[in-house]
Amino acid sequence: TQLLEQSPQFLSIQEGENLTVYCNSSSVFSSLQWYRQEPGEGPVLLVTVVTGGEVKKLKRLTFQFGDARKDSSLHITAAQPGDTGLYLCAGIPDSNYQLIWGAGTKLIIKP
């Protein structure tokens, strides 16, 4: 069974702090996406990474795809209350074509 494990499951920090959340697997992925889901809404795509070692920045958010394409991280600098939400990673394993999802990291940024 190919799994995407996200950690931590839950994170609550103060506004202005930095944080990193992780998406890990024992499988190699051809590509990986990060979504953010706000309460009462569906997930919205933040970024897609496709190359091992790739780093993408979206304002204060930095996404990295591991060199071996088995893991990814999301780093937020100077977190703001608007960053609050459920962060989901999803990817397509090299061994098949089925998109799989992690269980998500629930992030709360306190003012």
């Binding site: 499951q9 496709v50 999803a90 999802w101 269980a103």
Partner: protein, 116 residues
Amino acid sequence: NAGVTQTPKFRVLKTGQSMTLLCAQDMNHEYMYWYRQDPGMGLRLIHYSVGEGTTAKGEVPDGYNVSRLKKQNFLLGLESAAPSQTSVYFCASSRLRGARSINEQFFGPGTRLTVL
């Protein structure tokens, strides 16, 4: 351009009742998906469709049926609801993708279903 819409937003059923959830997209996407989301378990794929008139089973298809008679609509049916089907249901759509490529999925706002 409304994107992906779902009806209804909320529903309460009694065990054994049936219902149909409707998903509509106006982006001319080929692919459509039905997911359920439960606490701590992320999104689980129920059924999906790669085009009008075609459907396929996902990870958790039992107890659900789907139909895609029109390209823009994807219906999810529960023939005999069970408490285990209490969940939030999301519909999504995406453009046609290659075998190893990954396209953005656009999600609807969800339907919160409670089965008593």
